[in-house]
């Protein structure tokens, strides 16, 4: 009996041995080769599927276009941030020769982690014909969380953080830190921020506002600078804390939870990293029509989101074809329509050829958020990911469990 158990276990281990055969190794620096190789394949794209409008944009617009243009089937798999990192990390640890994922939608924090574990393929973005029109000189696009993207991820969209309030309840939303403190004191329990990415982005905006010059915090992580300004930040948050939702003893776990609290009237403010969120949520019927987005005078973080190809992807050429279409003027302009998604384009629209520029003409303006030109004036750059790691840890030890 014992022998048969041992034999069976050994057979199982043998069956689980890693496949060391090499994946796609052909030359992807020649676009005509990419077009030839990439067509008529099936790829898996892992992306956040938490917004019906974004899902509809992908399934009703991008996927059919890709299918008719290149014969590529894109299977969208739900997953974001840590799930993408965990999936690719597990594959690398298991010495897999090919990944289950061919294209990922990421932002700076995930990009930082994926570069840490060397999970991304690259450089590849300069091979894409449509990348010529990306506004790489714009630091909000060409840099991701102060990191050079070095061709390892492709800018796909650009957004800015906004605070969302209900103008039926608040006539003059607070514009600076003093006004915010006064507001929470006179309206206790109505303001909070979440314990995840959006809340940390809000904390980063506040952190930068304490610096005399934002440039002090830009660039690589600096311990002395962090200590200097984070101390002021935590002092300020501790002043706000007793007047926050649930006395600042608990924070919404993520932005979706905060939106629910705002929609149900439990809090008067929500926030979003997507400046079009308020229009989207009003059109979905989640937010009241009196909801409005704004950026306080101390500014808010503007950042871009990107597409990456895992190093172990078996279908890199197909993923590149899909990515190239997603940054085309046609796809970018459609994405920027408020009724579709309202996402900011990463293209340098002024320098587009006339036939492509026309795609961006006659796009209706959004109704409930200020125009991007106005938000741009208060835009702050994302900080190095190390700042977010430290803020997340210190928020836990200095605010949640002091």
């Amino acid at each position: 009996m014992r022998k048969s158990i041992v034999v069976l276990i050994l057979v199982c281990f043998w069956a689980c041995k890693t496949d060391k055969s090499q994946g796609e190794s052909s030359d992807l620096s020649d676009w005509s080769m990419v077009e030839t190789q990439g067509q008529n394949q099936s790829i898996n794209m892992m992306m956040w599927k938490g917004d019906p409008k974004i899902n509809a944009y992908m399934s009703d617009y991008v996927l059919p276009k890709i299918k008719s243009k290149y014969g590529i089937d894109v299977n969208i798999v739900s997953g974001q941030g840590s799930m993408i990192v965990q999936s690719l990390m597990t594959e690398l640890q298991a010495n897999k020769s090919e990944s289950e994922i061919d294209l990922v939608w990421i932002n700076g924090e995930t990009f930082y982690q994926l570069r840490q574990i060397d999970a991304l393929y690259g450089p590849w973005t300069s091979e894409l014909p449509n990348a010529e029109f990306i506004d790489f000189d714009n630091p909000f696009i060409g840099k991701d969380f102060q990191q050079d993207i070095d061709g390892y991820e492709l800018p796909w969209g650009n957004v800015q953080m906004t605070l969302i309030y209900d103008q039926a309840k608040i006539k003059n939303p607070p514009q600076n830190k003093v006004e915010l403190l006064d507001f929470v004191k006179t309206h206790p329990g109505q303001f909070t921020f979440d314990n995840h990415f959006t809340g940390l982005t809000f904390l980063k905006s506040l952190l930068i506002s304490f610096a005399e010059n934002p440039d002090e915090l830009y660039g690589d992580f600096d311990e002395v600078t962090y200590q200097k300004y984070s101390q002021q930040l935590w002092e300020y948050i501790n002043k706000l804390k007793p007047y926050l939702w649930q006395n600042g003893e608990v924070f919404p776990e993520n932005v979706a939870q905060m939106h629910q609290l705002f929609a149900s009237g439990e809090i008067w403010f929500s926030m979003s990293n997507n400046d079009s969120e308020v229009d989207n949520k009003i059109s979905e019927g989640l937010f009241p029509k009196s909801a409005r987005a704004y950026v306080p005078d101390f500014g808010s973080i503007q950042n871009s989101h990107y597409l990456g190809i895992p190093k172990l992807s078996k279908h890199k050429a197909a993923a590149m074809l899909v990515a190239n279409f997603m940054i085309s003027a046609e796809a970018q302009s459609h994405k920027s329509k408020p009724e579709v998604w309202g996402d900011g384009s990463v293209l340098d629209i002024e320098n587009l050829p006339e036939n492509q520029k026309q795609h961006f003409e006659n796009i209706a303006k959004r109704q409930y958020a200020p125009p991007r030109s106005e938000l741009n004036q208060k835009a702050l750059m994302e900080l190095n990911p190390e700042y977010m790691i430290r803020l997340a840890e210190d928020f836990r030890t200095k605010i949640i469990n002091p």
Binding site: S4, I5, I9, Q246, E266, R396
Partner: protein
């Protein structure tokens, strides 16, 4: 021949599907926590174990989870015993059984959201209280979810567990022929209260104590319910571990694994000390 082959196959399946994955998972977590594996590992270190053993919030999480587990199981047990003894026949058959066992249809996540809808300041009870004029604003409703004492988590766990316990108690009552023993006790002169205290409850408890202990551990390790109804501090242990493994800092992953191995060790210790499980109980019967 058949009689000999079947037990071997079942034993093999037990080893392959139950023992091997658990041991392999634990081994992997242990080696990760010691810096022996992982893409960012820098070689053997006890740093993460030192951190895990000296992190106050982790011990607070263990104690908090244990308290929530014990309280939830105790309350569920009280409800289950009351129902099993009061409506024993109706529970075994009839419409009442559908009503009592209805919560079994709800996955934990759904039940957590139901409790959130009931008890949050913008939930049903709060709105009813507001409409009836008991409170002057929704936020004046007491904090019953995401509260310090884990009230919402306990309510949800009780709703999820009570049907299981009701079935368990009802079956023990039937199988141990407790009705007969109760009648015998009363015939010999014991009062109803004394019969309950000296005959019924001791037998029910004795026969179910290992299951109760396992349910304490089940509640302690639950994830979705405290994620939805809990708060950031104190935090149930599963939520704390997952956040260490999945949040922004990849260098925290070995610490998360050290915490999970430590949790397993503590649970096994609790089982050994309180449960004293016999081989007969834990191992399946193959003969």
């Amino acid at each position: 021949m058949k009689l000999k082959v079947y037990p071997i196959l079942i034993k093999l399946l037990f080893w392959l599907l139950i023992v091997l994955p658990v041991v392999a998972g634990l081994g992997y977590a242990l080696s990760y926590s010691l810096g022996l594996t992982g893409l960012l590992s820098k070689g053997f270190t006890l740093e993460y174990w030192q951190k895990a053993l000296t992190t106050q919030s982790l011990w607070a999480s263990f104690l908090y989870s244990l308290s929530i587990g014990i309280i939830s199981v105790f309350i569920s047990l009280c409800f289950a015993v009351s129902m099993a003894l009061s409506w024993n026949k109706s529970i075994q058959q009839g419409r009442l059984s559908y009503f009592i066992f209805l919560p079994l249809c709800f996955p934990a996540t759904v039940m957590a959201f139901v409790v959130l809808q009931w008890l949050s300041p913008s939930g049903w009870f709060s709105r009813i209280a507001f409409e009836l004029g008991f409170i002057n604003s929704l936020n004046a409703f007491p904090n019953l979810v995401r509260d310090f004492y884990g009230f919402g988590i306990i309510v949800c766990s009780v709703l999820l567990i009570t049907p299981f316990f009701t079935i368990l108690m009802s079956n023990i009552y039937k199988n141990e022929n407790l009705l007969h023993l109760e009648n015998l006790s009363k015939t010999l002169g014991a009062s109803t209260a004394k019969t309950l205290k000296r005959v019924t409850l001791p037998i029910l408890f004795q026969k179910s104590k290992m299951t109760l202990l396992l349910f304490v551990i089940f509640v302690m390790g639950s994830y979705e319910v405290p994620l939805i109804l809990g708060r950031q501090y104190p935090q149930m242990v599963s939520v704390a571990i997952v956040q260490k493994i999945q949040k922004f800092n990849l260098n925290d992953i070995p610490l998360g694994f050290a915490m999970s191995v430590l949790y397993v060790i503590l649970v096994v210790l609790v089982l050994m000390v309180l449960g004293k499980p016999s081989r007969k109980y834990l191992k399946p019967h193959f003969k």
